[in-house]
Amino acid sequence: MTFELAACLLTLFLLAGIGTPIGYTIILAATVYLGLSGLDLALTGEKILQGLYRSFILLAVPLFIVAANIMNAGTISEWLLNFCVALVGRFRGGLGHVNVVASLIFSGMSGSAVADAAGIGKVIIEMMTKEGRYTRGYAAAITAASATIGPIIPPSIPMVLYALVSNASIGALFLGGIVPGLVMGAVLMGMNAYISHKRGLDIDEAVPLSELPAKTARAFPALLMPVILLYGIYGGVTTPTEAAAVAAFYALLLAGLFYRALSWHTLYRIFVDSARASGAVGIVIGGALILNFIVISENIPEMMSNLLTGIDVSPIVFLIGVNLLILVLGCVLDATTIILVIVPLFIPTCRELGIDLVHFGVLVVVNSMIGLITPPYGILLFVINAVTGIPLREIIAEIWPFLAALLVALVMVMLFPGIVLFLPRLFGYAG
């Protein structure tokens, strides 16, 4: 490790550790690195400005925040979640199950875990913590964990990135993510049931079945939202990013006209609040952009690959090795860097060992999504912290069992390629 990198990491961990805002901490650490290396100090600003100015995909973040705030203030998501409660709330840890099921529904609307967490996550956390039955750390942790499903079930931005570097079929990758996404949902619900039982959480009062039709009718326009968005994306009306704007617009129509729960003043406050939350998230995303530059300048990916070359391994040992590496890297790097920089190093070896590239792709995307909730550098943890104000230490304290559950899902996907390849093969994938 170079002296400059060491100084950069020291600054990063030191300032972050004493409670300096993460976004500013990264900017400062990068400035230290650039200064000591004799590089252009303006690179920090250049990376952040150009990164934000050129990332179309990131525009979904503020718009999903707006949509979530409208749904929240306009009671839409409450009607939607009431319906989920009537369905799966009758079991112990009911709202935890509702959280996961809602994430599964919403993962069909967006390709970005960050947008999922920043959007619907905030609403569910509020519901879960309202009556004090769940700690806010637990609510935030299960929300972060279930948001990782977002990019596994299509549409998915990380899978598009993987397809670009691997030449694997995007169509097959999208289909391949569906079953693993459901498996992840299942293990999270299993863990939620176990913890709820162990903690002796009261069973929520079951909603009488006679009330179900009324609840469904009231929630129906809201339930239509994922349907409209899925039709919008798969019916070719919008791109996944534009779907975020459609979501906000539909929420606005519902809240204003159907549920009549939105005043002009509330709407104004929603936009002020959403802008503020977008800014707090945006500065951290910007920080990740300059951090990526340093990682690449320091040749860290190449050093990693040199460690692996020349070792004669069997496919399964190779997969285990790669997954362990990505898990470790996921603690400090973001998913985009891992997929664009680290993963391509392993693709030639995959071909040699006869590992299916769609299987490998879904596997590494699942793995790098898990990295989004591994401390200390877990973007989803930061995002939920930013939009809800729940302290990171409380979230991290509750994240471990869900992390373990997702690792079980990861091992299953690794050992049984059929979980990934079943659906693509059904639709004619030859691999």
């Binding site: 972050a16 409670g19 976004g23 920090t44 919008t238 406050r269 609040d273 945006g282």
Partner: protein, 182 residues
């Protein structure tokens, strides 16, 4: 001081809200122009990106408070009052120093970007493409305002001790989550 900060908030809030609303409407316009008018506007995408850049740095300069930020405060909160004072002073001083150290080179870069203009968005008054210097200038403003804010904070901590409210405010709140009043 309090008065000035309230005034800034009162001016900045409608600007931030208007920028986000404009971004939202532009996105809808993009979809509308493609599907209803069958003649997509070329400039909608870039306008959204410009607004996004401005929203991030404008809000961080004028609206995002210490407690709105993503922070990792395990160590901070476990320290004694004396320790917390020192840590908060280090944080504030580091931010001021870092922003000022990188300020002139960054201004040089932003000024250099006058060479390059937007590729689709035009200034409605002149009909000319906008230099990226204009668009990126918000980052220079952001650096100055943040440095100023943390310098004032440094002084306030020296006088009044650690700003614990920024980290613990939510513990007393009835709701765990910070949601606007209905």
């Amino acid at each position: 001081m309090e008065k000035l900060s309230r005034l800034i908030t009162r001016v900045a809030e409608p600007i931030a809200a208007a920028m986000l609303a404009a971004m939202f409407i532009t996105f809808l316009l993009q979809i509308f122009s493609r599907y209803v008018m069958l003649q997509p506007f070329g400039w909608t995408l870039e306008l959204c990106l410009i607004l996004w850049v401005w929203i991030v740095f404008f809000t961080n300069a004028f609206l995002v408070g210490e407690r709105d930020h993503v922070t990792f405060d395990i160590l901070y909160n476990s320290g004694s009052r004396r320790v917390r004072t020192v840590l908060a002073l280090i944080s504030a001083a580091a931010i001021v120093a870092g922003m000022l150290y990188a300020f002139l080179p960054t201004v040089d870069y932003i000024d250099w970007m006058k060479m390059r203009r937007t590729s689709t968005v035009e200034n409605p008054l002149t009909g000319e493409r906008i230099p990226l210097r204009t668009i990126f200038s918000i980052y220079a403003i952001f650096m100055v305002v943040v440095a100023l804010r943390y310098a004032l904070r440094f002084v306030a901590i020296l006088r009044g001790g650690p700003p614990d409210a920024d980290h613990d405010l939510l513990k007393d709140a009835p709701d765990a989550t910070r949601v606007e009043e209905r």
